[in-house]
Amino acid sequence: MNRIINKYIQEQKEYILKEWVERMKEKSDERVLKVVSNQVFVSTSREFVEMVSSNLNDTNDEYSERLHDFAEKVVKLGWPLSFVTEGIQVFASLVFEGIKEEKLVSKEDEMKLFYGIDRWTNPMTNEVVNIYSTTWERTVSLQKIALQELSAPLIPVFDGISVMPLIGAIDTERAKQIMENLLNGVVKHRSEVVLIDITGVPVVDTMVAHHIIQAADAVRLVGARCMLVGIRPEIAQTIVNLGIDLNQIITKNTLKKGMEAALELMNKKIIQVGEKS
C-alpha cells in the first residue's frame, strides 16, 4: 500500500503542491498571510510538501531530524500550530482523493488506503505538536527566569536603613523570592529598619497583604523592623474593605515620610549645614 501512495506522491508532486497551496490559502486566516510573504509561503509550502512526502523514503532517524528542523523553522516563521496540523490533514486528504480518482486502488482496498495514509500522517502530527509544545514550554520557562531577575533588590540607603521597592504584580512564587531577598539583604547590610515601598504594586489583595505581613514578621525575627510605605488611597481603601489587619506594621503614605520615621527610630536626623547658595 505504501508503494502506491509513494508512487502517486512522487508523480503528482507539482499538482499536489498547487492544490495544497490553494486550499491552505483559503483556510488560513489573515494573520498568517500577513506575516508570511507570498514567495516565502510558496517556498515553505514546497518544503512542507517535500518533507511530508519524504516520510515514506527516509529512514526514521533522518526523518525525525528533518521534521525537527522544519518544525522549528515553522515556529520561527510564526505559523500557528492549528495551521500546520490542518496542513497535514489537507495533504492527507489530497493524496487520498487523488489516488481514489485515479483508481489506483480497488474499491475494496479504499479502507486499507485510508488507514495506510492515517498510519503515516499520525506520527507526523504528534511530532509537530510535540515540538511546538516544547518550544512554548521553553519560552515560558525563559520568561519565568527573566521575571525572577526583575525581582526586588534591597538597597541600603543609610547605615542601618534599607529600602526595597516593589514593582508589578506579586504572586506566591515572587513573594517567596522577595522574602528571601529581603531577609538576606537585611542580614547582609545589617539593616535595622527596612522600608518596603509598594508604590509600584498595582493591586494589594488579601494574598499580597498576607505575604507582606509574613515578610514583616520574618524581618522582626532576624532582628530588624519593617515599615510599609507608598500606600496610595485606593490601596488603603482595599486594605480596610477587605478587613486586612496591618496594625502590627508601621505604614506611611510616601517613601519620604517613611524615611523620616526610620531616621527617627534610629535616633538620626538630616540637618542642613549651611545656607543655600
Binding site: 531577609l183 537585611v186 509574613q214 525575627l221 532582628g223
Partner: protein, 118 residues
C-alpha cells in the same frame, strides 16, 4: 552535651553552636532557669547564628524558656536568626510574637541594656 551558659555582669550569655536535639534543648531549658535563679540575672541573650533550622518542637522549647524567664524577671533577646530559619518559622505558622530579636550579639546586648535601663 550541655550548652554553656556564661555570666556577664547581671546578664547571661548563651551561644548555641550546634544542631539542637530534643534532649539537649530540654536540658538547656532547665539549666538556664537554674542559672537565672542562681545569680538573679535580669537579662539573657541567646545567640543562634549557627542554627540552620528550627522545627516546631525547638520553637516551643525556646518560646517556653522565654516565657519562663520572663516569669522569673529576666528579659530575653534572641539574636542571629538566619533568614532561612525565619522564613521556615513563619511558614510553619510560628511567629514568636513576644520575643525580642536582634541582628547579632552586639546589637542584642545593646538592646538588652536599653530595655533594662528604662
Amino acid at each position: 552535651m550541655r550548652i554553656p551558659i556564661l555570666k556577664l555582669y547581671d546578664c547571661l550569655l548563651v551561644s548555641i553552636q550546634w544542631e539542637l536535639d530534643d534532649q539537649t534543648a530540654l536540658q538547656f531549658q532547665e539549666d538556664l532557669l537554674h542559672k537565672i535563679h542562681e545569680i538573679g540575672a535580669s537579662g539573657v541573650v541567646i545567640d543562634i547564628t549557627s542554627i540552620d533550622f528550627i522545627d516546631s518542637f525547638i520553637a516551643k522549647v525556646l518560646g517556653d524558656v522565654i516565657s519562663m524567664s520572663k516569669l522569673m524577671g529576666a528579659k530575653v533577646v534572641i539574636t542571629g536568626i538566619q533568614p532561612a530559619v525565619a522564613i521556615t518559622l513563619i511558614e510553619l505558622g510560628i511567629s514568636l510574637n513576644d520575643v525580642m530579636t536582634s541582628l547579632d550579639l552586639e546589637k542584642g546586648l545593646e538592646k538588652l541594656q536599653q530595655e533594662l535601663g528604662e
